[in-house]
Symmetry: C2
Subunit: 126 residues, 2 copies
């Protein structure tokens, strides 16, 4: 963490270890609740500050999947998502599982910064 020029305070270390020990999709509120349950003294403002800081340094990725809130993804490798509409769950889809045989050329003066792919899932009818 200090590699990035981020000062490793107690709160930041706890947030980092919560997110980075395994791939997860968490909201700010979930992170706050989780930290407090495990006895940490953290404020909501610090959680948001820290998540924004981590995202700015590329340690985590912020997702816009539903309009309701931001989700923070500890997997910063390129990948895509399933979104289960019934449960709201997010499931990672590795890059090799998707292959594009055609993509539109970016408009003049622009280049592709990244591709966000969300495959929405519903309960099977049949």
């Amino acid at each position: 963490m200090s590699d990035c020029g981020i000062r490793p305070t107690a709160q930041r270390v706890r947030i980092a270890s919560l997110l980075l020990c395994e791939p997860q999709h968490l909201s700010a509120e979930q992170i706050l609740a989780n930290l407090r349950q495990s006895g940490a003294r953290v404020s909501k403002a610090t959680v948001y500050n820290t998540l924004n800081l981590f995202a700015a340094h590329g340690l985590i990725r912020q997702l816009s999947v539903d309009g309701t809130r931001a989700w923070f993804d500890s997997n910063v490798d390129a990948h895509y998502h399933f979104h289960d509409l019934a449960s709201g769950a997010l499931i990672d889809v590795p890059v090799p599982d998707v292959e594009f045989s055609r993509l539109p050329p970016p408009p003049p003066g622009t280049e592709v910064d990244g591709i966000d792919l969300v495959i929405r899932l519903r309960k099977k009818a049949s």
Copy 2:
């Protein structure tokens, strides 16, 4: 509009003609401002009610592109989007411009409801 069982009130007709006369991506606030500029008497609550109503009936589509607000797309045909990170602009990408040669199978008990594809664009470096 009344085909869908929606009562065509003055406000709804104005919102519909603003959105549906040409393909557009607008926020609720933009729609409200636009209507008031053209002399309409509309409240914010009615704009939101109407947009949610139209979306529920499949007349428009709600997009989650950035976390900041919802965008309402008057193009309900299947399609994808470019998202210009510099300007925030959304540009439609027609379905035939994208071709998937591989997609992951949906998890057991689920089926694909839809695919949201957003190609993020930045200013070309070179």
